[in-house]
């Protein structure tokens, strides 16, 4: 049975084009290789 309120909560607002720049900067670009690099070199520089 669909719970209407729960389903509504799952819907998130879409990013407007004007907010694209902020969205890009907010984007976490860390991938697995960065994590491995951090683990291997805790003091290593982030990409």
């Amino acid at each position: 049975m669909i719970n209407y309120d729960e389903e509504i909560k799952k819907f998130q607002p879409s990013i407007e084009i004007d907010e694209a720049e902020d969205a890009i900067f907010r984007n976490d670009m860390t991938d697995v290789s960065d994590i491995i690099e951090k683990l291997n070199n805790p003091k290593g520089a982030n990409k």
């Binding site: 049975m1 669909i2 209407y4 389903e7 509504i8 799952k10 819907f11 607002p13 879409s14 990013i15 407007e16 084009i17 004007d18 907010e19 694209a20 969205a23 890009i24 984007n27 670009m29 860390t30 991938d31 697995v32 290789s33 960065d34 491995i36 690099e37 291997n40 070199n41």
Partner: protein, 417 residues
């Protein structure tokens, strides 16, 4: 080998790059896994399973953020789902990683080239966000109006379809919701939310209409999103005996109808044909019979004539000398009268004419003359034979009892040797 981290050349099979110190083996493996996930995402995108493709491509980028192909494809999938801003973000990041020879540049130019389309897409996103706020505040009617506009501006905006269908489901407008959800499945075959909503509608409709579980299970929806409802699975249905019986009944009635209507007409036609032929043949038989009767009459007449001629011949042979002729005058007169009587009365009767009272009287009178004639005066044998012939012929037609003459031909007297 090239270091996947810094791009420096690595001599031999070194585990670590001499330039940046990165673990080459691990990095290489990560990139391979990322590429594999990209390939899987591409396969899904090709069959329009966009939701699945998004997941694969996001995982691919988690392993290798510099996978340009995966990022470009993810942007394309986002654009197809109506998430234009997300698509633009991915393409911008992609161009940041690789400035030259990058498809993302071309895609960005295409999006921004059509300004009307660009504005529509932006406007659709704004209206969707407004509609979402309205829904969260309980104002579903206004939200529905906004969402309809959003769909009009961007027909690929999947989230808008889903939100509007949710509103319809809440308002029990199941048919409208189904329509929208099928359009979603047309865009994104693997959209889990749309499938879940459709199942919900199906169960709700089944419960409302009181269908049996079997019937509910038999109904299916076209998940390819073509919008067609498959309906019942006919292979599971039992054969319809009623329709078979009705078919044979109809066939029997048709045959009976043909027999009742058509066969009598056919028989009548055949009968008429044979009757016409029968009449024809009857006419031919009648004509043949008439011809036969006339020929038989002709035969009798000819036989009578033959008898007469032979009698004349006998007379000629039997005629005495001149001085004796006077004695035969009465006989000759009698014979002449006989010939005359034959011509006028006897021959017509023998041809088939009815004998009248006058004829009968005449015959009887002549018979009387024959009886009274003195045969002793005749010495010639041929003359006697002629007399006998006359007696015989007239005797057949003369009657005191009223019997019908037998119409036999007159016997031919044999000439004297």
């Amino acid at each position: 080998m090239i270091c996947p981290n810094c791009g420096a050349k690595v001599v031999g099979r070194r585990r670590r790059c001499e330039n940046c110190g990165a673990d080459i083996a691990v990095l290489d493996r990560l990139r391979k896994l990322s590429n594999r996930l990209y390939n899987e995402g591409l396969e899904m995108a090709q069959v329009r399973d966009l939701s699945g493709a998004v997941l694969k491509l996001q995982k691919s980028l988690e392993l290798n953020k510099e996978n340009i192909e995966a990022r470009n494809l993810l942007g394309l999938v986002y654009y197809e789902l109506g998430e234009s801003t997300a698509a633009i973000c991915e393409w911008v990041i992609s161009t940041n990683f690789k400035k030259e020879d990058n498809d993302a540049e071309r895609l960005l130019r295409l999006v921004q080239a059509d300004s009307t389309e660009y504005q529509n897409v932006n406007s659709a996103i704004r209206k969707f966000n407004i509609a979402l706020d309205l829904v969260k505040n309980g104002n579903e009617d206004m939200a529905a109006i906004q969402l309809k506009k959003v769909i009009g501006l961007n027909p690929h905006f999947v989230k808008a379809y889903l939100l509007l269908s949710l509103i319809y489901i809440k308002n029990c407008e199941y048919e409208r919701a189904k329509k929208l959800l099928k359009r979603v499945l047309k865009i994104d075959v693997g959209n889990v939310t749309a499938r879940r909503y459709i199942n919900e509608i199906k169960l709700t409709v089944v419960n409302q209409e009181g269908k049996s579980d079997a019937e509910a299970q038999q109904e299916d929806y076209d998940f390819a999103g073509t919008g067609a409802v498959k309906g019942k699975i006919y292979s599971d249905e039992k054969p319809n005996f009623l329709s078979i019986i009705t078919f044979f009944l109809g066939l029997a009635m048709g045959i009976a109808l043909v027999y009742v209507l058509a066969v009598p007409n056919i028989r009548t036609d055949i009968r008429r044909t044979y009757e016409a032929k029968e009449r024809e043949l009857g006419a031919d038989v009648s004509a043949a019979n008439a011809q036969k009767s006339s020929l038989e009459s002709r035969i009798r007449i000819l036989e009578n004539e033959n008898t007469d001629l032979k009698s004349q011949l006998l007379i000629a042979q039997a005629t005495p000398e001149a001085d004796e002729r006077a004695d035969y005058e009465p006989f000759l007169q009698l014979y002449a009268d006989y010939l005359d009587l034959c011509d006028r009365v006897i021959n017509p009767i023998s041809s088939g004419n009815l004998i009248s009272a006058e004829d009968l009287e005449e015959i009887n009178n002549f018979n009387g003359r024959l009886v009274d004639f003195d045969m002793a005066s005749l010495e010639n044998e041929n003359t006697k034979m002629l007399y006998a012939t006359m007696i015989d012929v007239i005797g057949r037609y003369a009657t005191g009892t009223g019997a019908e003459p037998d119409n036999k031909p007159t016997p031919t007297p044999t000439p004297a040797a």
